[in-house]
């Protein structure tokens, strides 16, 4: 039976188990939208307010569910508006399939209306991209797109479809892609390397595990827990590794990185064997590489060969899917407790508690509400079990430092790219992907205004997300740097903000503003109890800083507490 290319696109999505897509229509993608209309009982389309919102919503969906997120846009500006979300997905290894319309094949290269070279533009920020110019290519290419997006180290794929290919008829049949001859997503596990790793771990006096999103992407949470519990090795998470282990697990020592915890950073330079699991030694984690873990033997479990020895030279590299590798490793490691080593983390935590955490969570000296205590309040009223979607900046660091997690895939944030404007649309995707979970978006007053239009999507599609804006009337993180490194010259970081509650109410979203500490508890309780979307603005202390902090280019040993 012959069908149109546009209908084939929809049937391919259904074959891949997609029942939810985010997008925005326009001229060059209209045939696909016509089919979305016809298939609306099988495939839900959420109309966003800007294509960037579609990309971030698809990311939020993917991060919270582990499935591939799908975003659709038209040619030209529709396609270019997706690019920030695609770049974000690329650097944070998020599986995404973006479908863009394109002018007809006969118009390619003619500077036609809304023609743009989205293949050229998206190449550096996609795992793969392809321009379909003939209808018959659609099933094979879309099958490849989903396979590439989700396999190996996941990432975004963009498929650009010319309008003629959407209109033309083709004979439809669908076979899922399981192999591409030039692509090896899952390196074969080398058991000798696992044995070498086990020998190093068993001989170590101060072994230290640092884990990233690889644990979540390979669904190795149980294996990580088993490894940690058998060996007694303290484990710290990267920002994208958050929630891969319960926060209150006794062997979870906290967060790495520029604004991570004191012990996990400083003790990186004290351990004798550093075991990196599914993480990529980002500069925000390592600080200065020339002084990073030089005393330690480094074991790197990683699926992407290009990450091995990229930043940190390894003693043993185990190139494999993490779940498979840890399954092989666990029987080879000795049972241990490493008590005195563990006590070093506890001592460092005590220092951080007294210097930073206590004051952040219960401010004294008549200071205004802190971001940390707001996060604590959300923990309290969500029973430590919400999906936290954070934007980028100070509030993000406070959310990542103080939010508590019981369940994996509960921390959705823009890590690698640091995309302000990420959280509001990403929260939409996370909530729609996990409708039974509470989803709380934590956003600053700056980032909120970068995709504020998505309040319209939340209203129209009735997405019951909880939105918390931590308002300090500053671009807080930049202001902090200006205070610390630019002699308090607050260049363009002062925000004169509108009445956010009125804006939320303009979209018929319940809204409340808290300015006093004594009102915070009840306000957060009311928000969390709401069955509908809810907007809470919290006026926080204006010039608080995030500490600890490793200044750019400094060593992890030189982490500052104030």
């Amino acid at each position: 039976m012959k069908i149109s290319g546009a209908e084939a696109v929809i049937r391919c999505l259904l074959e891949e188990g997609v029942n939810l897509v985010y997008g925005y229509p326009g001229g060059a993608i209209m045939p696909v939208y016509d089919e979305l209309y016809k298939f609306q009982d099988q495939l839900q389309h959420i109309l966003v307010r800007h294509e960037q919102g579609a990309a971030h919503a698809a990311q939020g969906f993917a991060r919270a569910t582990g499935k591939v997120g799908v975003a659709i846009a038209t040619s030209g500006p529709g396609a270019t508006n997706l690019v920030t979300g695609i770049a974000d997905a690329q650097i944070d290894s998020t599986p995404l399939v973006c479908i863009t319309g394109q002018v007809g094949k006969h118009l390619l290269g003619s500077d036609a209306f809304q023609e743009t070279d989205i293949i050229g533009i998206s190449t550096p920020v996609t795992k793969w991209n392809y321009q379909i110019t003939e209808a018959h290519e659609i099933p094979e290419i879309i099958a490849k797109a989903f396979y590439i997006a989700r396999s190996g180290r996941p990432g975004p794929v963009l498929i650009d479809i010319t309008k003629n290919a959407q209109f033309d008829e083709m004979e439809f049949s669908y076979t899922k892609c399981t192999k591409i001859r030039s692509y090896n997503p899952k390196p074969t596990l080398n058991h000798e390397k696992v044995a070498e790793a086990a020998a190093l771990i068993n001989a170590a006096k101060k072994p230290y595990i640092i884990f990233g999103q690889g644990v979540i992407l390979s669904e190795a949470e149980a294996e990580l827990k088993a490894l940690v519990e058998k060996t007694g090795i303290p484990a710290a998470w990267t920002i994208l590794g958050l929630s891969a282990m319960p926060t209150d697990h006794p062997l979870n020592v906290g967060m790495l990185g520029m604004h991570g915890n004191y012990g996990p950073n400083i003790l990186t330079n004290e351990c004798d064997v550093l075991i990196a699991l599914g993480m990529r030694f980002d500069d925000r984690v390592t600080g200065s590489l020339s002084t990073y873990a030089k005393q330690a033997k480094v074991i790197h479990f990683e699926i992407d060969p290009a990450e091995i020895d990229k930043n940190v030279k390894t003693t043993v590299a185990v190139l494999a899917d993490l779940k498979e590798a840890l399954t092989a490793l666990i029987p080879l490691v000795d049972k241990n407790s490493h008590e005195s080593w563990h006590n070093e983390f506890k001592e460092k935590y005590k220092i951080e508690l007294e210097a930073v955490i206590n004051e952040e969570l219960a401010p004294t000296n008549g200071k205004g509400i802190s971001m940390g205590e707001t996060i604590e309040m959300i923990n309290k009223h969500s029973n430590d079990n919400a999906i936290m979607v954070s934007d980028v900046g100070q509030h993000q660091m406070f959310a990542c430092r103080y939010a508590k997690f019981k369940t994996t895939k509960s921390n959705v944030t823009s890590g690698g790219l640091g995309t302000m404007g990420f959280a509001l649309p990403a929260a939409i995707g996370a909530k729609m992907g996990m409708p039974d979970r509470e989803v709380v978006a934590i956003i600053g007053d700056g980032g909120f205004q970068m995709n504020i239009q998505e309040l319209g999507t939340i209203f129209q599609s009735k997405v019951p997300v909880k939105i918390v804006v931590l308002n300090n009337e500053f671009l807080g993180m930049v202001r902090q740097w200006q205070e610390l490194f630019f002699d308090n010259r607050y260049a363009s970081t002062i925000m004169v903000n509108p009445n956010f509650c009125a804006i939320a109410e303009g979209y018929y979203i319940k809204a409340k503003k808290v300015t006093k500490r004594e009102d915070l508890d009840a306000a957060v309780a009311e928000m969390m109890a709401s069955k509908e979307a809810y907007f809470l603005e919290v006026m926080v202390e204006k010039e608080n800083n995030v500490f600890p902090m490793i200044p750019t280019g400094a060593s992890v040993s030189d982490i500052r507490l104030s």
Partner: protein, 174 residues
């Protein structure tokens, strides 16, 4: 780490857009490509890129890792000059009158082992394959008489050692 000349070989599918994907990897790292050649390889439908760069070994490892990561790339390698047999080709277009007026030119052509490709009333064309230094040498000798046009190809090379890719490519053939 010191900068050295590296020859990067890439075996890939022959698809639209891959050149852009690969060149972007150099662009992102602000590395200038000294020469680039794309051709068929020993396996049907498999392309071979030969890219010459001057950089550190650490960077070339990083680059080769990123290239190999591209979906349509089958395998990528890097070699230093001592590990490969390599050459470039150049063609020179010269005013025909010189061939008769300047006797020395005939000697230069003969000594450089270059070939005369064509001779017409107005100009003649010679070609020369070899190392960059040999081509530069010929260029410098001819320059004083006036070169009407000059073009040099990118480097092509084969490795002295057996390429690890051979068995992989054998499988693709079957």
């Amino acid at each position: 780490m010191e900068n050295k000349i590296f020859t990067i070989s890439v075996y890939s599918e022959n698809n639209v857009g891959l050149l852009n994907r690969i060149s972007g990897i150099f662009l992102k790292r602000h590395i200038n490509v000294l020469s680039l050649n794309v051709s068929d390889s020993e396996v049907e439908h498999v392309s071979r890129f030969i890219i010459v760069v001057k950089t550190t070994e650490k960077w070339v490892q990083n680059i080769v890792g990123q290239i190999e990561k591209q979906i349509e790339v089958i395998k990528a390698f890097y070699h230093i000059d001592e590990e490969t047999i390599f050459l470039e080709s150049a063609i020179f277009k010269i005013n025909s009158a010189l061939l008769f007026d300047e006797r020395q030119i005939q000697n230069i052509i003969k000594e450089s082992h270059s070939e005369i490709v064509t001779v017409s009333r107005d100009f003649f064309v010679i070609s020369k394959s070899g190392k960059r230094t040999e081509i530069n040498d010929l260029y410098n000798k001819l320059k004083r008489y006036g070169i009407m046009q000059f073009a040099r190809s990118g480097r092509i090379s084969v490795s002295k050692e057996k390429m690890e890719v051979t068995s992989l490519l054998e499988q693709l053939k079957s």
